[in-house]
């Protein structure tokens, strides 16, 4: 892929060149509209906007990651696959997908940055060893991830942190966080950052955010974690098709009991759905085929900060994280000793008071008359 300036073709033209029918395009627009929680009446407007939108230049940076996010993206079905992705935007730099290698690849990044100064988007997957960490933990072309990130975002229009590692630190940041891993928003303070969390995130959510940017020319509305509200506005629990079982108190107690077979709530098997905000329950995975809870497994809460440290995957949400019964016993013993000591002193006080007690005499009483 040669470095280039944003092509002159509009998105509509580009899509038609790639054989997408008008009908298919409108279908995509309708899906995108509903995905972004916009009223259906906006679909034609979105179609019109997308039709004439210019493809933005995108630089994709991969740091401490497993490539799962990219794998997820390339399996995107709804906006008709990687074709669409690759034409939707001008992907000017991406380790895994680009043909160029070595210095040529880095050159492509620098050229794209130069040519689209102030307008290009940076997508990051993976966490970054922070400025205080050993820079050697993760490098690309001899540069630390931190250097690359800061250099690349300097003239970006916005940054999209894809995946929980980029958004919240993810697994690299899990205790004891040996690489000093940090999230994008920990490091990038002067640019808009959108977090598209999930391990991996739902592909349609990634494309949805890009579509929103293309249509409206700005980033979508975000929640307190910087995630697009359209996709992260509701918890798994609230949209879960097993919710009625929770409300009726019907729970699977193990993975092979009657409750599990009958599709009852997985709360007691450790489902983190109540505290997890994501669109899995509505958009599902693999082109709407299924999603973890539908396949009988509790939600891991992968789109939330600290999900790896938030208690065992098979421990119910209400189970404390660190307390052990032994701690309680020890505390009780300490209490008994402390209380016993105090009580012994108090008892001595009673005895002393009784021992030095002066009997009341008639004469003393008479003084009061």
């Amino acid at each position: 892929m040669a470095a280039r300036k944003t092509p002159e073709k509009t998105l509509g033209e580009s899509l038609r060149d790639h054989g997408l029918s008008r009908r298919g395009f409108l279908k995509f627009c309708a899906a995108t509209t509903s995905m972004m929680a916009l009223p259906p009446s906006l679909a034609p407007a979105i179609a019109a906007a997308l039709e004439t939108a210019k493809r933005p230049s995108v630089i994709w940076l991969s740091f401490q990651e497993c490539t799962g996010c990219t794998e997820s993206l390339t399996r995107s079905h709804a906006p008709t696959l990687e074709d669409l992705i690759l034409d939707f935007i001008s992907l000017d730099y991406h380790h895994t997908l680009q043909a160029a290698a070595g210095e040529a690849a880095e050159e492509a990044r620098l050229q794209a940055m130069e040519a689209n100064k102030g307008e290009y988007l940076v997508i990051v997957d993976g966490s970054i060893p922070g400025p205080d960490a050993n820079p050697g933990f993760s490098t690309v072309a001899g540069h630390s991830n931190y250097q690359t990130l800061m250099e690349t975002v300097e003239h970006a229009a916005a940054v999209i942190a894809v995946g929980t590692c980029a958004a919240f630190g993810g697994i690299p940041q899990a205790k004891p966080n040996p690489t000093g891993a940090m999230s994008v928003m920990d490091l990038v303070k002067d640019k808009p950052v959108v977090n598209v969390s999930g391990c991996p995130p739902i592909p349609m959510v990634i494309t949805g955010v890009l579509a929103h940017y293309l249509v409206f020319g700005r980033l979508p509305e975000l929640d307190s974690y910087g995630r697009p509200l359209a996709f992260y506005g509701q918890s798994i629990h609230d949209r879960c098709y097993r919710r009625p079982f929770y409300d009726r108190g019907l729970f699977a107690e193990s993975f092979d009991d009657e409750g599990a077979k009958l599709g009852w709530c997985l709360y007691r098997l450790g489902c983190k759905g109540p505290s997890t905000y994501n669109a899995c329950a509505t958009m599902k995975w693999n082109d709407g085929t299924s999603w973890p809870i539908e396949s009988g497994h509790p939600c891991l809460g992968c789109s939330e900060p600290s999900f790896w440290d938030a208690g065992g995957f098979y421990e119910p949400l209400s189970v404390p994280l660190t307390l052990r019964p032994e701690t309680l016993l020890q505390a009780g013993a300490v209490g008994a000793v402390v209380g016993g000591g105090l009580a012994a002193l108090a008892r001595k006080k009673v005895k002393d008071a009784a021992g030095t007690r002066q009997p009341v005499t008639v004469e003393e009483l008479e003084q009061k008359l």
Partner: protein, 220 residues
């Protein structure tokens, strides 16, 4: 990063440990404070044993005698309702049972969530009623201390935050759940040092009461 999930994890992790440790130390200290004081030897010839009467009073004092019920129906009825509602929500709600199971490995059957939800709502209303009663009844107003209002607030907050979290009326949910857990932790910390100790010492007090009357031949 200080988000609601961090807050939840803090309440489930270190803060829970701190609260439970203070609770355990405080409660055991309080029990030691009581029991080690002892009782003077009683030389008077008893009419009956202390133990049967003491044990009976531990249970029977839960139910008011008819005259007391007629003179203080509000106290008796509302007191019962909110205590039962609180205990049901505490002990028979699935997440709470899972907590016990996770911590001590013991569990028991739960009530269906809508039932717990209903009882919680009733408990909240009853608690408000007890506060109104405390503020208006001349005796209760006269004998109430800051501690009474503090304890009321903490107990109310525990139930209220639980209700809000269950109904997801506070967003994001980790914040709601964290507030509930933190309220419960405050209650645990205060318990050994306030009148909340009555959850345990009331049974000790009842035993002493029943024993003292029992040895004189009266079932108190």
């Amino acid at each position: 990063m200080s988000g609601s999930m961090e807050f939840l994890l803090w309440t489930k992790g270190p803060m829970f440990d701190i609260a439970m440790v203070i609770f355990a130390i405080g409660l055991l200290a309080r029990l030691a404070e009581i029991f080690l004081l002892g009782r003077a030897r009683n030389y008077a010839e008893p009419r009956a044993g202390e133990w049967p009467a003491g044990l009976r009073t531990m249970l029977t004092r839960t139910v008011a005698d008819r005259g007391t019920f007629e003179r203080a129906p509000f106290n008796v009825v509302v007191g019962w309702i909110w205590h039962l509602g609180f205990l049901a929500a505490l002990l028979l709600f699935v997440p709470h049972i899972e907590l016990a199971k996770g911590l001590f490995g013991i569990s028991w059957p739960a009530l269906p969530n809508p039932v717990v939800d209903f009882l919680t709502a009733i408990t909240l209303l009853s608690l408000v009623a007890t506060l109104v009663h405390r503020l208006n009844h001349p005796v209760k107003r006269r004998i109430s201390t800051i501690e009474d209002y503090l304890v009321w607030t903490v107990v109310f907050m525990v139930v209220l935050t639980g209700y809000l979290a269950y109904h997801r009326m506070v967003n994001p949910y980790p914040l709601a759940l964290g507030m509930h857990i933190l309220s419960a932790e405050i209650l645990l910390i205060l318990l050994p040092f306030t009148k909340l100790t009555h959850i345990l010492t009331a049974f000790i007090a009842r035993w002493y009461n029943g024993a003292a009357f029992g040895r004189k031949g009266v079932q108190s």
